[in-house]
Symmetry: C2
Subunit: 311 residues, 2 copies
């Protein structure tokens, strides 16, 4: 929940589209298009981007160029280049490529954890420990985030006990993660639950409490982000055009739409550091690299209100 103090912004919106979005669509975006998309995000004022996932190319061919993308993205000063790593091996590759922040998905649902990474949640905590150790050796300045997935429920297991979520988040911090964030992987969260869990998280791990990663599967994405913000969360994951997310919701976006999230906060007077016109313009290179892929977002469809001026 650390507030960003590096720029004139009250919150940090962490763009996950190039990783979370691209790995969820069938088409493979050519590497030069990824570069142009990242450039446009940076030009709009985005200060943290999850650019790739370091998984075997045979599993996710969309991410075969992960190292190349990281090496390109880190040329942008003032931007934190994040990579998702599922294990120690991925972490080593990401660190060697120059990633500035790592995020490791640690599922609070046993069934989801086994299905997603073929490891139990406890095994993943050991992975956090090993990665933190490697990070200390190779690149001590790199931050390590544990993203507690299915923190608000699971399509396989159903209800995920809140005690399990908080205990796992604390175990990850104890194992060396700089922060534990909470992810609504399948779009089950509601605002009351969001407030309750982030309040407990902060009580448990204090300043190690991390980002809110919300989905819009049932339309509650922005309401959940609002609830998290009211509870003191200051970092939010979202995806340009709502790209990616949950395949279980036909016609519905998965990830919270960056454009709508920026509009909500800016309209409230909460500074994101992101230019609304420019972030909507960043849809152009995204679409160019993924022809025919539907993009979501109500604010891009409706346009900005008459007389609206961003501070």
């Amino acid at each position: 929940m650390a507030a960003d103090t590096s720029t004139h912004a009250d919150i940090l919106i962490s763009e996950v589209g190039p990783r979370d979005g691209l790995q969820s669509v069938k088409a493979i975006m050519p590497t030069p298009d990824k570069f142009r998309w990242i450039d446009a995000l940076v030009a709009a004022g985005v200060r943290e981007i999850e650019v790739a996932s370091f998984v075997p190319a045979r599993l996710l061919p969309q991410m075969a160029d992960a190292a190349e993308v990281v090496r390109y993205a880190i040329r942008h000063p003032g931007v934190t280049v994040m990579a998702l790593v599922p294990n120690l091996r991925g972490a080593e590759a990401a660190l060697r490529a120059g990633a500035q922040k790592l995020t490791l998905p640690v599922s609070a649902s046993r069934e989801h954890s086994l299905a997603n990474v073929r490891k139990t949640s406890e095994d993943m905590v050991e992975e956090v420990r090993a990665i933190a150790k490697l990070r200390d050796e190779l690149a001590p300045g790199v931050r390590l985030e544990a993203g507690i997935s299915t923190a608000f429920g699971c399509t396989l297991q159903g209800v995920v006990p809140e005690d399990d979520v908080i205990r796992l988040a604390a175990m990850c911090v104890a194992a060396g993660a700089d922060e534990s964030g909470l992810s609504d992987t399948v779009g089950y969260a509601n605002p009351a639950q969001v407030r309750r869990l982030f309040r407990r998280l902060r009580a448990e791990v204090g300043q190690h409490a991390g980002a809110a990663h919300m989905h819009n599967t049932r339309g509650l994405g922005l309401a959940n982000c609002l609830a998290a913000w009211e509870e003191g969360v200051r970092t939010f994951d979202s995806s340009l055009g709502g790209l990616g997310g949950c395949p279980y919701a036909p016609g519905a976006s998965g990830n919270v739409v960056t454009e709508d999230l920026v509009f909500m906060f800016e309209a409230m007077g909460v500074r994101t550091g992101i230019d609304l016109e420019k972030i909507m313009a960043a849809r152009v290179p995204l679409s160019a690299g993924l022809p025919g892929e539907p993009l979501y977002g109500m604010t891009p469809d409706a346009g900005l209100p008459k007389g609206y001026t961003q501070r």
Copy 2:
């Protein structure tokens, strides 16, 4: 902001689809289909329905059967049958048909008021006074609501000063309205503004503070309802399938989607009195009466979470 005490519910969701929705689409729903749709809403537990608008049929042929629809709907015990009336003449017709609650749109934007009803806001306050007097004579038990439209901004005028909104709401109450609600007619509202305005409204008119009528034009509909709820609002307007609303947002729903609103509150443990499965089933008669009309709603698309049980 009066809490509903007639049933086991914490809030009142006022379904506006048969009025707000139907008057916004080109097709005319046959009267028997309106009956079946209203029946399905009632069967789902909806306790307040805005069923018609009493305007000349040459202006809104979709509402030519307004009196007939009111006469049908009032047969349902325990349901408050609302009608929109633009003026004294419409109010008289609605009262004679048996409407149990009237809502009069009073725009806080001078330009919108002239465009919408060809009267200034001040003229509309006089209309409130005349209608309240008529109501006292004809049907003293009928509640009269002033719906302060463009309360959060206007596509014609742009910014609408908050002082204007609150002053107008208070003038309507002074003129005899039982409640003044606030409407985000064009989808400009943000959660901070919603909290600010409803707080001021309640400070100004106390228990005469009325419903939140939010639109989802820029995706903030549920977040704005959440903000209003946190500020003590207990009545929310919404539309099944998001029917109706703002034609300025292609592909975007206008009114807040009833199904998603019910899901949000029920998931939070806030009782709506509405059965989620049955309210989704009420889309069937709606679609039957408006073939080919697109319906919105993320929860109907995604389905309910695994293991979800409504209290």
